[in-house]
């Protein structure tokens, strides 16, 4: 418990210090609140307008929770397929890397033309940003099995499926989870961006509304909510990792 506290307090102090400087700077330099509201203003606003923003938060959360599993699922399937079919990997892996030079956000307007304003283009966008970290991490993890264990499995007469299910797959879990954690934060971002492009509810839509009326304080409230959503999703994945990869020795610093 004590060591846990030792880990927690330095960043906590840093955040409090940062907020203090912010608050002080805004009041000393007389920054107008439409340009940069103080942390106090933001806190007050978040209490005052809580009910309105909850509906938007729920919409974004729902979108994220639909898009994230689909995105990571597609990423996993792509990774497994390319891993099990080597010539497919040779053919597609470079294209996969290249495809990441296309900013997914730039595809948003196109997706709306193709799929309309409903749920579908938003899910497609989240899938596009989510699948890549998972696919690359999973492929990396699957390909780097321990050579001695691999030799052991082959000499013991293990079939290709046994090698995959008993060696490669469990061995790839730590790598896979680092991909999943990145995807989790991308998923929330993807959902907000999708709502910017075309939506009638959600945190992204809420931000656009507030921008139009220069309510900077409310935009900050929205940002805080986005951060919290990302953190919660990240923490859930980390918990799942802790349980599934419990065999891994803990790092001693």
């Amino acid at each position: 418990m004590r060591s846990y506290w030792n880990q927690i307090w330095p960043p906590l102090v840093a955040v409090i210090f940062f907020l203090g400087v912010w608050q002080l700077a805004v009041s000393v330099l007389h920054v107008p609140s439409w340009m940069l509201p103080s942390p106090g203003d933001i806190a007050r606003e978040s209490r005052g307008n809580a009910s309105g923003i909850w509906a938007h938060t729920a919409a974004t959360l729902r979108l994220t929770l639909i898009g994230f599993p689909i995105g990571t699922g597609v990423g996993l399937i792509v990774a497994l397929l390319l891993h099990l079919v080597p010539w497919l990997k040779r053919a597609l892996y470079p294209l996969l890397i290249l495809s990441q030079n296309v900013p997914s956000i730039a595809l948003g307007p196109l997706l709306i033309i193709w799929f309309g304003f409903g749920l579908l283009p938003k899910i497609v966008l989240i899938t596009l940003v989510c699948f890549f970290p998972v696919a690359v991490a999973a492929m990396g993890g699957l390909a780097q099995s321990d050579r001695i264990m691999m030799n052991y499995m082959k000499m013991a007469g293990a079939s290709k499926w046994q090698i995959f299910s008993k060696l490669e797959l469990p061995g790839s879990l730590p790598a896979l989870f680092s991909g999943l954690k990145i995807s989790a934060t991308y998923a929330v971002m993807g959902a907000v961006v999708a709502e910017w492009i075309g939506a009638d509810k959600g945190i992204g839509y809420y931000m656009l509304l507030q921008k139009a009326s220069y309510r900077t304080d409310r935009m900050f409230v929205a940002i805080v909510i986005i951060v919290l959503l990302s953190l919660v999703l990240f923490a859930l994945i980390a918990l799942l990792e802790k349980w599934l990869v419990r065999w891994k020795p803990r790092k001693t610093s």
Partner: protein, 282 residues
């Protein structure tokens, strides 16, 4: 293959009964005239040159040789990971050249699967062969107790010391359904004290439960203590230089290593190894 070396001694002549090609009951393992070369940038490196050796059922046989004598390649060929350029690998009277799953293998590093508990690691070989789990589990429990790993059944490998991990890896090989065990320098990663402990432990265990074993080591003392027969390999390309029948009766004790006869034999083997090392590094 013994010709051309000045140090032929009586032990080698006595071993002529084991020369490859001798007919009789089925050998646990018979490697017959295996050669292997690798090509790298169009340059040929000969690794094994006409290697023949046999392991009889319930016999402990060692291979010693200078580093780079192709011992690992030979294991890969016996294990079916690689095909020889010439020669065959036979087990129990069957030609199994290039076939996998015929041997039980213990690698240099324990290579226990970190996500499996010790018990599940020990059961792996049987599991791969589709053996029923319940009986195997009971046997594994019994054996883990016996080798001093009782209470660690549900532990993960990283919680164990190097010596304990190596014992678990040995048990994994011992409980495998295959008759022949290949032990590839199993103690080379351990410190000297643990190593000595493990040699005596293996000696005792093997004399109680005789299995056919082919054992690779750099350590002459280890080979002499444990084996009934030792194949001394030449440097690259590896070939059989001497065959030594180890005369000490069983059951053997650890104190054997202090006896005069043991020391003499050890000195002789060390001499061969030194010469061979000097010849190949020149």
């Amino acid at each position: 293959m013994l010709a051309g070396h000045p140090n032929l001694n009586t032990l080698e002549q006595a071993s002529s009964a084991y020369m490859p090609g001798a007919k009789g009951a089925h050998h646990a393992l018979n490697v017959d005239g295996v050669s292997k070369a690798f090509f790298h940038r169009r340059r040929e490196t000969r690794v094994l040159d006409n290697v023949s050796l046999t392991v009889e059922p319930q016999e402990f046989v060692s291979i010693v040789g200078p580093s780079g004598c192709g011992k690992s390649t030979l294991f890969h060929i016996i294990g079916g990971l690689e095909l020889p350029d010439a020669g065959t690998v036979n087990m129990g009277g069957k030609n199994v050249t290039g076939q996998r799953g015929e041997i039980s293998y213990m690698p240099q590093q324990p290579a226990l699967f970190p996500w499996r508990t010790i018990e599940d690691n020990v059961l792996l070989a049987g599991e791969l062969k589709g053996e029923p789990k319940a009986e195997a589990r009971a046997a594994a429990r019994h054996w883990l107790d016996k080798v001093g790993l009782g209470g660690f059944e549900r532990a993960y490998p990283h919680m164990l010391s190097g010596g304990m991990q190596q014992r678990a890896a040995f048990l994994r090989a011992l409980l495998a359904p295959q008759e022949l065990m290949l032990l590839d320098e199993p103690f080379s990663a351990l410190d000297a004290l643990t190593r000595e402990q493990m040699q005596r432990w293996l000696l005792e265990l093997w004399e109680e439960n005789r299995r056919s074993v082919l054992f690779i080591t750099h350590n002459i003392e280890e080979a002499l203590l444990l084996s009934s027969r030792i194949y001394v390999f030449s440097g690259r390309p590896g070939s059989v230089l001497h065959i030594v029948d180890v005369p000490f009766p069983r059951p053997r004790r650890g104190e054997l290593t202090d006896s005069l006869e043991f020391l003499q034999l050890r000195r002789e083997l060390s001499e061969w190894m030194r010469e061979e090392q000097a010849r190949t590094t020149r």
